[in-house]
């Protein structure tokens, strides 16, 4: 049994809501537990408002959780504040590759500088020659031509910018790489290259991945396990193939059915309409999907379904989750 690299236990993140009733809280992430093994690639999917961006920031230790713990190996990295963690030895072990679209590269930094900065801060490298060598090696590793090292981000193509973002994150050789929509702004052909690069790097640098994306086909390519979130909670967690071929939670089934598939163009598929219920002070005793779910019953309105196992490593939070066919009961 692999020792988990990262374990999140009952993480919650609540934000106070201005202007609403006193004490109203937005439940961005609500009692989420997650484990990532060494060398494992876990996908995190869900739609806008599900809390995956907040999870990225929680697991990346950019924000402090309201409650809950995160264990990196044996260390509880939530025992110290996020500011203290930033200067601890653990900081370099978790890195994030950000979405290209959100200006994740500093417009006034040249590429070489962008890659060198974490080396100087996290690895405390001082010698200019050493830093330069490491920058070049990292650039080569991600397939970034040397002549681009002196360029500014606005002089790079989308694919090149994506590589710089990856180079910056892997330069410090993290154990866990969190990828937040790393290819969503890229053309298909460029995306393919970057995905192959990510797969290659993972094997070479022996990293674990948390891959967050709205594109389920891409997640399926890179991840061995997928976690589905809805309104701040985990609704399903399963090996990738199982999740896509035999999803057990109604939301996951709607999600999978919504993926455009030319092979099934003639089929009428079930559609999920409406919007999610409010994440502000949600009813703790009702299933979050109640009201939008085709199978809602009174039980759904009165009892929050726990995340239950059913089948090999396949968990779903639904009172009526279909049992998996085949495999172990």
């Amino acid at each position: 049994m692999m020792a988990p690299l990262l374990e999140a236990r009952s993480l919650s993140k609540f934000y106070p809501v201005k202007g609403a009733a006193r004490g109203a809280k937005l439940h961005a992430v609500d009692d989420v537990s997650l484990t990532i093994g060494a060398g494992e690639s876990v996908g995190l999917v869900g739609e806008s408002g599900c809390g995956k961006s907040t999870m990225v920031r929680l697991l990346g230790r950019l924000i402090d959780p309201t409650t809950g713990q995160i264990l990196l190996g044996d260390d509880d990295i939530t025992a110290m504040s996020q500011a203290r963690f930033a200067s601890s030895a653990g900081r370099r072990r978790i890195q994030i590759v950000f979405q290209d679209a959100t200006e994740s590269l500093n417009p006034s930094f040249r590429v070489a500088q962008a890659i060198a900065d974490p080396l100087q801060r996290l690895l405390d490298m001082r010698n200019a020659a050493d830093i330069d060598k490491r920058v070049r090696t990292t650039a080569a590793l991600v397939g970034l031509p040397e002549e681009l090292l002196q360029r500014y981000p606005h002089q790079l193509s989308g694919g090149q910018r994506a590589r710089v973002g990856i180079a910056r994150a892997v330069a410090v050789e993290p154990s866990l790489l969190i990828l937040d929509e790393p290819t969503s702004a890229l053309d298909v052909s460029v995306q393919a290259v970057i995905l192959r690069l990510l797969a290659d790097l993972r094997d070479r640098l022996k990293m674990s991945y948390l891959f967050v994306s709205h594109d389920l086909n891409v997640v399926r390519l890179l991840c061995s396990r997928v976690v589905v979130m809805y309104l701040g909670k985990v609704v399903e967690s399963a090996p990738a193939e199982a999740l896509f071929t035999a999803p057990r939670h109604p939301y996951t089934r709607a999600l999978v059915a919504a993926i455009p598939d030319p092979a099934r163009r003639r089929e009428a598929r079930p559609r999920l309409d409406g919007s999610p219920t409010s994440p502000i002070d949600p009813n703790p005793n009702a299933c979050r999907f109640h009201g939008r779910c085709a199978h809602s019953t009174d039980l759904c309105a009165t009892t929050m379904p726990p995340l239950r196992a059913g089948g090999a490593d396949h968990f779903a939070a639904c009172h009526f989750a279909l049992a998996s066919t085949g495999g172990n009961p």
Partner: protein, 317 residues
């Protein structure tokens, strides 16, 4: 007869850094009730095509050849006033990024009323009801007519835009990346809506997208564009089953589908050619492994594989 016909369209942009030959000899047509997808990557010219049809290009754009006819009317020869009449009434466009395409400080109900007032010629007292009816068609409840765009989700904003576009029952709808940025479940609902309205109103729909999978599910025919050329047009099944152009085949191989494996995911070699430079007749030849000397010398013909499957290649697969 096709409702919208684009024939041999070529568009250039005069810029400070040279002349960009954005489109060359683009030909495609959309029949009534048909949904045609225009698929391509960035720089392929798909958005320029859409904007040219709507005559919404900026002044730097120069149409150097070709014709666009809509219901028999020559769009390119039309006066700006005539175009303004057509836009909104006979032809409508849905833009990317719905929240920014709507007026930020005007209630959505009022925005629909504006369209109706301008193009449907309804008397003032009927406007409000007509707007509510338009919203109902896209399944937005009446009370939301009083909302501002920032109060609505991205999906709802897009539906408002669709309601505005369809308020006057146009005969041509151009949807430019209508679901980019939307959740996949919302995308499915929006696309289902577009498809249903297209069929029921016998509307010609041009769907511009970079998502081949999306085009594959919703379009009757697909035109694949690369660097300003249409390289292949076919009905959807033929395109996916027997892609004839090397670019189409590679694009399909690079698009992740449920069956894809990371080891076999294909990446297309090379880059888009610089559209300001002198270009060979086939703009894909620089990246094509099947290239022959003749590809760079002679003019590029259309090859008809079947009456509904055309490819612009000397050596189709």
């Amino acid at each position: 007869m096709a409702q919208l016909e684009i024939d041999n369209l070529s568009v250039e942009f005069r810029t400070r850094h040279g002349v960009v030959r954005a489109l060359e000899s683009v030909t495609l047509s959309v029949a009534r009730g048909e949904i045609v997808g225009v698929v391509g990557e960035s720089g392929s010219g798909k958005s320029v095509t859409a904007y040219t049809v709507m005559a919404l290009n900026d002044e730097a754009a120069q149409i150097t050849s070709g014709r666009i006819t809509m219901g028999g009317i020559d769009i390119l020869a039309a006066q700006p006033d005539a175009m303004r009449q057509l836009r909104g009434r006979e032809m409508a466009m849905i833009f990317q990024s719905p929240r920014t395409a709507l007026h930020p400080i005007r209630k959505v109900g009022k925005q629909i009323e504006d369209v109706l007032r301008e193009h449907a010629g309804l008397p003032s007292r009927d406007l409000k009801q007509a707007a509510i009816a338009a919203l109902a068609r896209v399944r937005i409840p009446e009370r939301r007519a009083e909302a501002y765009p920032f109060e609505l989700s991205g999906g709802m904003c897009q539906r408002v835009m669709i309601a505005m576009a369809l308020a006057c029952s146009p005969s041509v709808l151009i949807a430019d990346e209508p679901t980019t940025g939307l959740d996949v479940t919302t995308q499915a609902v929006i696309m289902d809506l577009i498809r249903d309205m297209s069929r029921s109103a016998r509307m010609s729909t041009l769907l511009i997208t970079h998502d081949l999978g999306l085009a594959g599910e919703y379009c009757d025919r697909i035109a694949v564009m690369h660097a300003g050329h249409v390289v292949e047009i076919a009905d959807t099944e033929s395109l996916f089953d027997h892609p004839a152009h090397p670019y189409t085949r590679q694009l399909l191989a690079a698009t992740p589908v449920p069956e894809s494996r990371i080891e076999t995911l294909h990446s297309i070699p090379g880059q888009l050619p610089d559209l300001r430079s002198t270009l060979p007749p086939c703009r894909f030849s620089g990246r094509c492994e099947r290239r022959q000397p003749i590809c760079d010398e002679r003019e590029l013909p259309w090859t008809e594989l079947t009456p509904t499957h055309l490819v612009r290649c000397r050596f189709p697969l």
